[in-house]
Amino acid sequence: MEIRIEHLNYIYGLGTSYEKKALDDISLTIRSGEFIGIIGHTGSGKSTLIQHLNGLNRASSGQIFVDGKNIYEDGYPMRQLRFRVGLVFQYPEYQIFETTVLKDICFGPKNQGLSAEEAEGRARAAMRMVGLDEHYEGKSPFELSGGQKRRVAIAGILAMNPEVLVLDEPTAGLDPKGRDDILGVLKQLHRESGITVVLVSHSMEDVADYASRIIVLDKGKVLYDDIPAKVFSHVEELESIGLAAPQVTYVMRALRGKGWDVSQDVTTQAEAADEILEVLRKAGVKC
């Protein structure tokens, strides 16, 4: 499924004394099967933007087309769109309400009109995807750890079988292992089921390792929309808006500064290691 956003503007509190322009003339297209990272400083409009993708926010002006159909047209099946574009909110564990993990994950599929058995089947599959085994099924969600709760919440969205999975800072407040686990799950999902993933974060490290395209937001505007290597080449601009390039970018820059012939297009640690080894080998060092 393809989501095309055209000249989108969004203003909070329209017509009150608290008016605030959160999105400013956004145009972009999310194509099927992409893994997109959206980054931006606090308050840049990331959360506001992604809540347009499933119709929770209605644009103040501008259009959104899903598979060529305008979602703001009368009679557009908005509720269906919610199921096709699964949106995981920031701190999704705060939306958990059921008595058991399985029941909570079943909430979405049941709203889709599935029978109890079908919903449970979906829920179990979703639990496996996020790495929760069967013995969690009957547990109360409230006695799980933060990272486990977050997995439950993500499973609750995955169980609806969305075509596009949008996550708002899924790693916020997690320890490094929890972060790697969740991002690993996303990467695996993307590779195995071909689901489109939109990952919101304000950490470059998060998106650099996983996304194939990065959209940088600043004060409600799209500043860059490109492949990671291109985006990270604007280190100074990124720093001036309160972001930073991933650490490897800085390492590679420093090496180039010292006269090493390493490429600047490297964005992940693995690539950086290969690149450095390659240069060393060329220089005749055995390794």
Partner: protein, 268 residues
């Protein structure tokens, strides 16, 4: 939707009314409300109107904004008026089936409508121009004498200010949880009463959980900073009456005097 409620909100500003001592404003509101119920003639209402409009003009809160606050209670007011119209015994003016609209009823309903409207406008000027914190400060120090009657004034004021502080937070939270559940296909709008009540569960459970979590965190944070109730607690910004506050007291006295004079000399 929830955000449209303007009643009880603070409207940031720096007008003379904003800067008055909260105790002055509290007393002023009280005097105004009492005057509404003791002086009920056309001339008294006219004077009250002039007083309200003057205060609104000085406060620089847009009148449109204040009137918007009346909307949520419009229905309530309509019901009150209808009840008074038909339920007051007296000379009938109009009869619909078994319901009699009486002359006394009409008069009473008009009084009621005027009083309720002014009561709400009066108290919203107070909340529009006073931050919740200074409001509770004003209450605490204005009612300090009740301590001698063993009323825990400080504790009540603290609870009030915490409750007031939490209202916008819980509203935001409600909005967020509603969206999160809507993203999972929850439907809060359609269906019958039973369905709708059931649909509230996914909203209310997380809301309560989060309210308790917040309350817990806050209690811990307060204790960690050595909070132990009101005894021996001093203020960073003690309330002191300034010249403008004394003048405001004089204006209030003038208003009451004018009402009394109107009552004695103008008989409409």
């Amino acid at each position: 939707m929830l955000k449209d409620m303007t009643i009880g909100q603070y409207y940031p500003g720096n007008s003379l009314i904003h800067r008055l001592d909260p105790r002055v404003k509290l007393l002023g509101t009280l005097v105004f409300i009492i005057s509404l119920f003791t002086f009920s003639s056309i001339s008294a209402y006219a004077l009250a109107t002039v007083a309200v409009l003057t205060v609104v003009a000085v406060s620089r809160v847009p009148l449109r904004y204040i009137l918007k606050g009346l909307k949520p209670i419009f229905i309530l007011m309509l019901i009150t008026i209808l009840f008074n119209l038909f339920m007051t015994p007296g000379t009938a003016v109009l009869q619909i089936w078994k319901l009699k609209m009486t002359e006394e009823g009409i008069r009473f309903a008009i009084h009621m409508a005027v009083r309720l409207t002014y009561l709400i406008i009066g108290s919203s000027i107070l909340t529009f121009t006073t931050t919740p914190n200074s409001l509770t400060d004003g209450l605490e120090s204005g009612l300090g004498w009740m301590n001698r009657l063993h009323v825990p004034v400080h504790e009540i004021a603290m609870m009030m200010s915490i409750a007031l502080r939490f209202i916008p937070i819980l509203m935001d939270e409600t909005d967020k949880i509603m969206r999160a559940q809507e993203a999972r296909g929850a439907d809060f709008q359609s269906g019958g009463v039973f369905h709708r009540v059931k649909a509230m569960v996914p909203l209310l459970v997380p809301l309560f959980v989060s309210a308790f979590r917040r309350a817990n965190d806050l209690a811990l944070a307060m204790e960690a900073r050595g909070y132990h109730g009101g005894a021996g607690r001093t203020k960073m910004k003690p309330l002191v009456y300034h010249r403008k506050d004394w003048i405001a007291f004089l204006v209030m006295a003038g208003y009451v005097a004018a009402q009394i004079l109107l009552r004695i000399f103008v008989k409409i």
